[in-house]
Amino acid sequence: MKKRGLGFYLRIYFRILAQDLKSKMSYRADFIISTIGMIFTNISGFVSFWILFRNFPSINGWGYYEILFLYGFSLVSLTPVQCLFDNNWSLRMYVYSGDFIKYCFRPINLFFYYQSEVFDIKGLGQLAFGIGTIVYSWGRIGLELTPLMLIKLIVFLITASLIMIALQNMAAALCFWMQNSFFVLDFVYRFRDYAKYPVTIFSPVFRFIFTFIMPIAFIAYYPSLVILRPGEVPILSWLSPLMGCLFFFLSYKIWMYGAMKYSGTGS
């Protein structure tokens, strides 16, 4: 069998990406409207945030700029799922119509092949908003800026992004078992809005749920602590890169299992 390593997959990915962008450019109006829509979403997020904090200057001992940092962190760590795994939203349609089978005949990883087909460029706007927010609140809080801090920030952002990817993979994969999985996907999607709040506001039971079962606390809260409050970092924060990888791996296995199980039944 021919060898297919990381280099092979990267080359394929960038080739598909380049082609995808080229064809997106041919739908200029759609591209512009979608980008505006995305900007709207972000602005509305900030407006809600601002209205809320006009009335309540702090939440549970967390100051305005600290919460703002969490917000920015969550925006950035939610970007990869938006950009790279957007095809999950179409999965149930492919499965329902039976067109999903076309992905099963190629000699490359099924999950990779499926996800590679769509790159959602709109997500980059969110990335810009997120980075801007992090930089702004970083300065306002007066955190020091060292190379080590930067490396920490980047590593924790990347691994935190795996959590939402994993949740979305699992939600999308449900369509292999049930017909109308849109609600689950939509539900998970709405949940990510709560990733930006400190998990300490919840009662112990829900703190447990959001840490280990629906681990949205790892999207922003735990990894941010490493940067925000370096003096009192709980062990879970240091574990968050591991959690990201673990959940991603798990979701990948579930997705693939569902795909293999399903592909037979549709005609």
Binding site: Q19, G98, C104, F105, N109, G264
Partner: protein, 333 residues
């Protein structure tokens, strides 16, 4: 010589949900569900040699797609064994995928938004085709069909015929050992059908590719297949040469006569005269399906002529279509 595909006693079962009817039924379904097991493929065995074009036929829901999915490694048989070029396809889907090409009738596997040439380049990377092989294949394609106008057209803008053609070319691009074609000519006009048949034939000749073809169009079968396999309700009905099939039913010929007056009435009288054969009438002809092992066409014609004055007559060999229909209806006894 080793077989390209070896299928031994393969059976595939599915669990399907029985839905109840009406508002009450839907409410009941909420709380208790009723599943039944359906056997889509039932103890099938066959072996296919390199370079063969095999027509895989059967009515809708006969189990054709299920068999193909098992051969492509998408489905695992419930019992039995499949070897494709020595590999177990469902145990190693990716490895098997290098050896096969698949075209599924109206479902394009090409990248919808990309011009064909870009899809080809992607496939070149995915299947790791060498530059020389790739150029050779494109050269071959150019000699067979006029692909220039297609190459720079996005797939979504193509007509169904162009898309099917492109899909077939894409399936052969990595020079696979086997190509599965599921209803490749469905929905196409006559000239496009002919074009696609010629292309498949030429590629099979040139590359000695094994082709498994499912179709409802007997024109495809006549033009391409030396051998046919027929299944119905998951069971294998027939597996042999076309020649043999024709020979098997070759004793049948259709005698068409035109008599004076009302054809319906004439048909009834003729039927009384030759009760051993089925008689039908349409607007123009009364047709008698004659089994020559029972009595010769000339004899039948003589018997009819002794009672009626016949204005005109025709003699037709039985068509593949009719043979297949007979097999679906009566089986091979």
């Amino acid at each position: 010589m080793a077989s390209m595909i070896e299928i031994r006693n393969v059976t595939k079962e599915f669990k399907v949900l029985n839905r109840r009817e009406g508002l009450k039924g839907s409410l009941k379904d909420l709380f208790s569900r009723d599943y039944k097991t359906v056997r889509a493929v039932d103890n099938i065995s066959m072996s296919i040699e390199p370079g063969e074009i095999v027509g895989y036929l059967g009515p809708n829901g006969a189990g054709k797609s299920t068999t193909i999915k098992m051969m492509t490694g998408v489905l695992e048989p419930t019992t039995g064994e499949i070897l494709v070029d020595g590999n177990i396809p469902y145990a190693n889907r990716t490895k098997n995928a290098e050896n096969i090409g698949v075209v599924f009738g109206q479902r394009s596997q090409l990248w919808w938004a990309l011009p064909l040439i870009e899809s080809f380049r992607l496939l070149k990377d995915i299947y790791q085709i060498s530059d020389a092989d790739y150029d050779g294949m494109l050269k071959l394609y150019r000699s067979l069909v006029d692909i220039e106008p297609l190459l720079h057209k996005p797939v979504r803008q193509m007509s169904l015929g162009q898309r099917t053609l492109s899909d077939i070319l894409a399936a052969f691009l990595h020079d696979p050992k086997i190509v599965f074609l599921d209803e490749p000519t469905i929905g196409l006009d006559v000239s496009m059908k002919a074009k696609i048949r010629t292309l498949i034939h030429a590629l099979n000749k040139e590359k000695n590719t094994t082709v498994i073809l499912t179709t409802h169009d007997m024109g495809d079968v006549d033009a391409l297949c030396r051998r046919i396999v027929i299944i119905d309700k998951g069971k294998m009905l027939y597996d042999n040469d076309m020649e043999h099939l024709k020979g098997f039913f070759g004793n049948y010929r259709t005698l068409k006569v035109r008599a004076e007056g009302d054809l319906k009435a004439a048909a009834e009288k003729i039927s009384a005269e030759v009760p051993e054969f089925p008689v039908n009438a349409d607007e123009e002809w009364v047709s008698i399906l004659v089994d020559e092992s029972k009595s010769g066409v000339m004899d039948v014609l003589g018997r009819i002529q002794s009672r009626f004055s016949i204005k005109d007559m025709q003699l037709e060999e039985i068509s593949t279509e009719e043979v297949i229909k007979k097999i679906y209806e009566e089986g091979v006894s």
